[in-house]
């Protein structure tokens, strides 16, 4: 399970709408807890794949270094990443899997259909190495009641 505030959840979905028809991407900062990853802050990142931004994303490593430094200063860790799939399902792709190397982190994907954010799913990268890694569906829990009616998220109690 990944827990995220309503504000951050809406912000990462809005990011996908802003960059449509291109993919957006960003980093989730927070803490890994017994029940899963808890997001405390999301950080937008630039998509360096300007050659194919509609179906590819890549975050510059130097930007990741700076974001990790920012996380350290705040007492947070990098607990996941998010990106969008313009006019494609909110499911991980072969490319997403091949390029996933942050075991224990959450990979949040939002489908953006005709410019509007639709489904947001999260996948936990499990395993200990490149040989045994696997994506596992994980529940997205939003710490706010306002999204109950969305029907795709479970509401946190604290």
């Amino acid at each position: 399970m990944i827990r995220i505030s309503k504000e951050d959840y809406e912000a990462l979905r809005a990011h996908g709408e802003e960059t449509y028809p291109n993919e957006c991407c960003g980093v989730l900062l927070g803490k890994s807890e017994a029940g899963g990853n808890r997001v405390k802050l999301i950080v937008r990142a630039g998509n360096t794949r300007t050659d194919s931004a509609h179906n590819r994303y890549h975050i510059a490593p130097v930007e990741l270094v700076r974001i990790q430094r920012q996380a350290r200063g705040l007492g947070f860790d990098i607990v996941g990443f998010y990106h969008s799939h313009p006019d494609h399902p909110a499911q991980w792709s072969k490319t997403d899997f091949a390029e996933a190397h942050w075991m224990g982190c959450s990979y949040v994907i939002t489908s953006v259909e005709h410019g509007k954010a639709a489904i947001t799913n999260s996948f936990l990268l499990k395993g200990t190495s490149e040989e045994d890694k696997a994506f596992e569906d994980e529940q997205v829990t939003i710490d706010d009641e306002a999204l109950v009616e969305a029907g795709e998220v479970e509401i946190g109690l604290d």
């Binding site: 194919s52 994303y57 490593p61 072969k94 490319t95 190397h101």
Partner: protein, 94 residues
């Protein structure tokens, strides 16, 4: 010098986010890290001893792959190394 460890590799450093190693060069520091935490080695290096392609190493704000001396770049006591796996993907096949 300090080496900052990314979240997924802290399982192999006893949960430590930052570790101190000796060195003199980037390569020597990374080797020192792998000696102190042997379980890390396979995650950082190929069986041939090369850095894995998706593992980026930054000396302060510089990618060591683009430094003239690459891994043999001198690293001072107050320099910092950051290990950062790449992050990329995309929605469908080309």
């Amino acid at each position: 010098m300090k080496i900052h460890i990314p979240t997924p590799l802290r399982a192999y450093t006893g949960g430590k986010e930052t570790v101190e190693v000796g060195g003199g060069t980037v390569a020597a520091s990374l080797e020192g890290l792998a000696q102190d935490f042997p379980a890390l080695r396979n995650h950082l290096f190929t069986p041939e001893g090369k850095l894995r392609s998706f593992v980026n190493v930054y000396l302060n704000d510089d990618d060591i792959r683009y430094l003239p001396a690459k891994e043999e770049t001198a690293a001072a006591e107050n320099d910092e190394l950051t290990i950062i796996p790449s992050i990329a993907g995309g929605c469908c096949c080309l």
